[in-house]
Amino acid sequence: MTVALPPAARRRRDRTTLYVWLFLTPTVLLYGAFTVYPIVGSYVYSLTDWNGFDASPSFIGLANYQEVLADPMFWSSFRLTLTFMLVAVPIQVLATLLIAIVLNSPRMPLRKLFRTALFLPVVTTTAIVGVVMQFVFDPASGPVNLALREAGLAPDGVDFLGQSSTALGTTIGVYVWKWFGITLVYWLAALQTVPNEVYEAARLDGAGALATLRHITMPLLKPFLVIITLLSVEASLQVFDLVLTMTNGGPFYSTEVIEVYIYRWAFAATVPRLGYASAAAVLFGLFVCLVGMVQLLAMRATRRTRGMA
């Protein structure tokens, strides 16, 4: 068939192929070098012992993995990451849904203003928020403790970020505060997809506000619930800048989530252990992919049920 093409058509097809690859070049080069190569590279590095200074890494097989899996600190950081996700995501997803439903009603006064205020932390720089929070929660003169003291709730002040029992909770709280607005906007967008006529029909049928919410709004939001949860879960697993700047993983490693663990071994240690950190990174990366995959499957399943309904 190829042979049968007239020369002009073939020339045009060759030119198109040339253009196709020209268009792909930036992605092939940039994404290839800075994402695909590092993914593959991580596996190779994880099999080596390397401090980053020596000329070349030495191959040590699976020893790093053995050591990582035997390190209680790795499991602790793994558990902290999971806790972070399991606490932050439900609050973020459900509380924003509630506020979004209220803010979506045209009868709500000042709703644009509220949306703006709630979205504000999203546009700020996470690392700077982390530093500012250090002194917002300062036990001696931070506003949180001053308010608690004035209200007579904690006369001695609470060292929110300085003690293991409260540091993780406070970090999660700040994380939810920081990213609340983005989930809120996701939900508002989802609510916009419900056509007004549906609501009007429900009202004509005599459905009350709660019945409308339960039987119309909620079922229509279900596919969005999966997408929004997916986005929130992936983001929460990768929390790094906020934790590093607010608590640096402390006190006593009580907030050391996985990315901080990897950072500590790869860049913050006096003698970096890049191979070891890579092994931890590979294990974590596989876990994140697994979570993402499960959720994608869930998404496909919801799509299918909706198609049948």
Partner: protein, 280 residues
């Protein structure tokens, strides 16, 4: 308004009042930060929750801008963000377009690799990425940060463009072809302008993630303090001047203010852009 209307409206106004108080607490950390940036170091401790300083202390800003070099950090951040957004938009649009509308050898492979790497955490790729950048001589340079940031996982952006271009009817391209338009013309003159909503979404999301970026600029500027972004500069400032709280507040205000002003001015685009990510 009669009594019935007032009664019907009352729950909404009560909800609004509750939300108003909530929102005030919500943005209080920013108000407190801005106020602390105008206080003297002593006032930060003594004035408590009071937001108004006795007299605005501009010296804090001078320290943050000149001594701590936040002016320079701000410029670095702007350069990195603008360049990254441009590169990401152009490269993701071109890739999404080609994948959506052309059959070629290797297409399935590229699609497969992209989808398989949709959820790659930053901590996963950072070590080989730094090593490669070092070998290429890109470490310790703004160009290196920009290239690494524009090459890091932007699969979602490609898929957004992919989905959008896929939905555009074939007749449109055919009509343009008959008019004598070439490959590049069709893309830049017809397709890219059509995809404005996707471009808005990708721009906003890339802008936020790049402006926010911390891990990559941190490890790329370990030995070049003059190339720090505001987030990295902030961390270093705290490390060196743990006691200068009013100076830190000023530095934070300098770093946050431009993006907050930008958001307030372009609010509609920010919100719609982000909403676009979930709608499609």
């Amino acid at each position: 308004m009669n009594a019935a209307t007032v009664l019907r409206r009352l729950p909404w106004w009560l909800a609004a009042a509750a939300l108003a108080i909530g929102c005030l607490i919500w943005i209080y950390p920013f108000l407190w930060m801005v106020s602390a940036s105008f206080k003297t170091s002593a006032e930060v401790f003594t004035k408590g929750l009071d937001l108004l300083p006795d007299a605005p202390e501009w010296a804090n800003y001078e320290r943050a801008w000149v001594e701590a070099e936040f002016g320079k950090y701000l410029l670095n951040t702007v350069i990195i963000t603008v360049c990254t957004v441009v590169v990401v938009v152009v490269r993701c649009a071109m890739t999404g377009y080609v994948l959506a509308r052309h059959e070629f050898r290797g297409r399935k492979l590229i699609m497969g690799v992209l989808v398989a790497t949709l959820f790659v955490p930053a901590g996963y790729t950072i070590i080989p990425l730094v090593d490669l950048s070092q070998k290429l001589g890109l470490l310790n340079s703004l160009t290196g940060i920009i290239l690494a940031m524009s090459g890091a996982a932007n699969v979602a952006a490609i898929l957004l463009y992919f989905g959008y271009f896929r939905g555009i009817p074939k007749e449109l391209t055919e009509a343009a072809l008959i008019d004598g338009a070439g490959f590049a013309t069709i893309f830049f003159r017809v397709m890219l302008p059509l995809a404005k909503p996707v471009t808005a979404t990708v721009t906003v999301l890339t802008f936020l993630s790049t402006w926010n970026a911390f891990f990559l600029p941190l490890v790329f500027t370990f030995s070049r303090p003059d190339l720090r972004t505001v987030s990295v500069g902030m961390l270093a400032f705290v490390g060196e001047n743990a006691t200068d709280w009013s100076g830190m507040a000023a530095a934070a205000t300098i770093s946050l203010l431009p993006v907050v002003v930008l958001f307030v001015v372009l609010q509609r685009y920010f919100i719609e852009g982000i909403a676009g990510a979930v709608k499609s």
